[in-house]
């Protein structure tokens, strides 16, 4: 088996999204395994077309998970009587901005971001119980 043949096999694996491949030819046996990053990429590109991703997201941005530091009740609204929220999807926030409140035994704790960026997704609703370490929101940031 020549180097070119092996390259062909790798291309075959890529085209068919295979994680591993075992080929036996006479005395020679070759086993190929895709690196985990590679296989993740395969899944990602198949679920969301690359063109779409490139359009909406700057290249060097990353998603940050904003996690709860308390167990308690999360509030997205500062005031129960109005439907105004601290932040909504697409809002630009800077480090230190308030994004919600957590009530723990009648004490209200302000929840603030420690990165700057754009709110990509809000994963909790107003008045929802949250656990410690639960992801509350996703923040798209261009910080290092």
């Amino acid at each position: 088996m020549k180097m070119d043949n092996i390259k062909e096999l790798i291309q075959l694996m890529k085209d068919n999204h295979l994680k591993s491949l075992n080929v036996k030819d006479g005395d020679l046996e070759i086993e190929l395994e895709a690196h985990s990053n590679y296989s993740n990429k395969v899944v990602e590109s198949s679920s969301s077309p690359e063109t779409n991703l490139e359009k909406s997201v700057p290249k060097d941005s990353k998603l940050i998970e904003i996690r709860s530091t308390q167990i308690g009740t999360f509030y997205t609204q500062p005031d129960e009587d109005s439907t105004d929220t601290f932040v909504k999807v697409g809002d630009k926030v800077t480090s230190g901005d308030q994004i919600g409140l957590i009530e723990i035994m009648k004490l209200f704790n302000e929840v603030r971001v420690d990165h700057s960026g754009v709110i990509e997704e809000i994963l909790v609703t107003n008045g929802e119980p949250v656990e410690y370490d639960q992801v509350l929101m996703l923040l798209r940031t261009e910080e290092e």
Binding site: Q70, I71, G72, T73, I104, M105, L107, P129, E131, Y132, D133, Q134
Partner: protein, 451 residues
């Protein structure tokens, strides 16, 4: 259907959740980030992550636990042992927020938590106490007078003490002042409370304790007693029920007296009164009371057939015990061996890590209480106890034989454990002959040095 939040982790959380399931009650687990793959989390009907691994921000954090109780709409909180089980403030906060605390009143917990007050209270109520000063001592001169009265050797102990801190053994009058001041200084730096009291020193005793259940309204029963004399630096490692060293009349005397005093104190839920027992005098001396379920409650369950957690739930929700003293009988002997993730060959250094080999022996009259499973990672943040192995036999030697067989079959690895250490004790002729006291390990050179 009542819902109970279990404010604990590890084997005791698993054990409590099991009875809740059997009683058709809802169970709520709380856990730290480090415990997200723990068995108690998997077994409970609901589970809430309340904080990071550090106990002060999770299992010891009152407000976070109450927040989880509120979110889950729990009716009651079972504290297990350790953590907040004997914290008076926690009981008060549970009551303020409308959760039933499964245990005695905050007032009683506070009383028993103060060693000098506990001693005075039970003494006035008729339990035998070690001769000593009534309450804290003002100064060394007063101490010298009292020490002379009770007779040397004496022990000076911190009022807020525990674990041997702020404690000195004084053998004669001439070293009294020096050691008295040392103890005071250590008490101040360890507990921020320099008050100390005096007691006669009791050498070579056994540790014998009486298991109590009370309804909080003046009814209390005992589930006989346990002998917990095998200790490693004041830490129990093997327990037996009953204490076979006691003859029937001595057993009846101490168990009935203890139950009577606890009834008079309106003790609620499970509790244990610990005594030093001096064999040649057949004398008991009150040490302390533990106002909670204990690690070794299992062996009392084995010899009486009573589920102690079930009785705690009956008292909490229905205000009564479902057993009378006349229904409670003991049969046979049960032994519990505590298995810790530690290295006995390296000063009992804790040995946390992933459990990749796990096989518990089973068979007739074998009980294993554990939170281990294949692939579980033992966290370095918490207690090293990973399992309790309990065997039951028609007499002590049958229970020992069974324990030797069970220990020889059990495999836990690659973490280090004290399995072999415990097997060594089970094989020891003096242990088998029940020729022992609380200094067994030191006296037989199984461990080194002083306490």
């Amino acid at each position: 259907m009542p819902k109970v939040l279990v404010a604990n982790r590890g084997e005791i959380a698993v054990r409590i959740i099991r009875t809740l399931k059997e009683k058709n009650m809802k169970s709520v687990a709380i856990y730290s980030v480090d415990d997200k793959d723990s068995l108690h989390v998997a077994l409970a009907d609901e589970a809430y992550c309340i904080g990071p691994a550090s106990s002060s921000e999770s299992y010891l954090n009152i407000e976070r636990i109450l927040s989880a109780a509120k979110i889950s709409q729990a009716d009651a909180i079972h504290p297990g042992y350790g953590f907040l089980a004997e914290n008076e403030t926690f009981v008060q906060r549970c009551e303020e927020e409308g959760f039933k605390f499964i245990g005695p009143s905050g007032k009683l917990i506070g009383l028993m938590g103060n060693k000098a007050k506990a001693r005075d209270t039970v003494g006035k109520n008729g339990l035998p106490i070690i001769p000593g000063s009534e309450g804290p001592i003002r100064d060394a001169n007063e101490g010298l007078i009292i020490a002379k009265e009770i007779g040397y050797p004496v022990v000076v102990k911190a009022v807020s003490g525990g674990g041997g801190k702020g404690m000195r053994l004084i053998e004669s009058e001439k070293e009294f002042k020096r050691l008295f001041h040392e103890a005071r200084k250590e008490a101040m730096s360890s507990f921020n409370d320099s008050r100390v009291y005096l007691e006669r020193f009791i050498p070579d005793a056994r540790h014998i304790e009486v298991q109590i259940l009370g309804d909080g309204k003046g009814q209390a029963v005992h589930l006989f007693e346990r002998d917990c004399s095998i200790q490693n630096h004041n830490q129990k490692i093997i327990e037996e029920a009953p204490a076979v060293i006691l003859d029937d009349s001595t057993r009846t005397y101490i168990t009935e007296l203890t139950a009577k005093v606890m009834a008079n104190l309106h003790y609620e839920s499970a509790g244990t009164v610990e005594y030093l027992y001096v064999e040649k005098e057949k004398a008991f001396y009150f040490m302390e009371m533990n106002t909670r379920i204990q690690v070794e409650h299992t062996i009392s369950e084995m010899i009486t057939g009573i589920d102690i957690v079930e009785q705690q739930l009956e008292v909490a929700f229905n205000g009564r015990l479902t057993v009378n003293q006349s229904d409670i009988h003991m049969n046979g002997v049960a032994i519990e061996v505590r298995i810790n993730a530690e290295n006995p060959r390296n000063n009992f250094m804790p040995s946390p890590g992933k459990v990749e080999l796990l096989h518990f022996s089973q068979g007739h009259h074998v009980r294993i209480d554990t939170h281990l499973y294949h692939g579980f990672t033992i966290s370095p943040h918490y207690d090293a106890m990973i399992a309790k192995i309990i065997t039951y036999g028609h007499n002590r030697s049958a229970a020992i034989s069974k324990m030797r067989r069970v220990l020889s079959e059990t495999v836990i690895g690659p973490v280090e454990t004290n399995l072999d250490f415990q097997a060594y004790i089970m094989d020891h002729p003096k242990y088998q002959a029940n020729d022992l006291n609380i200094h067994f390990l030191k006296n037989n050179h199984i461990i080194e040095g002083g306490d």
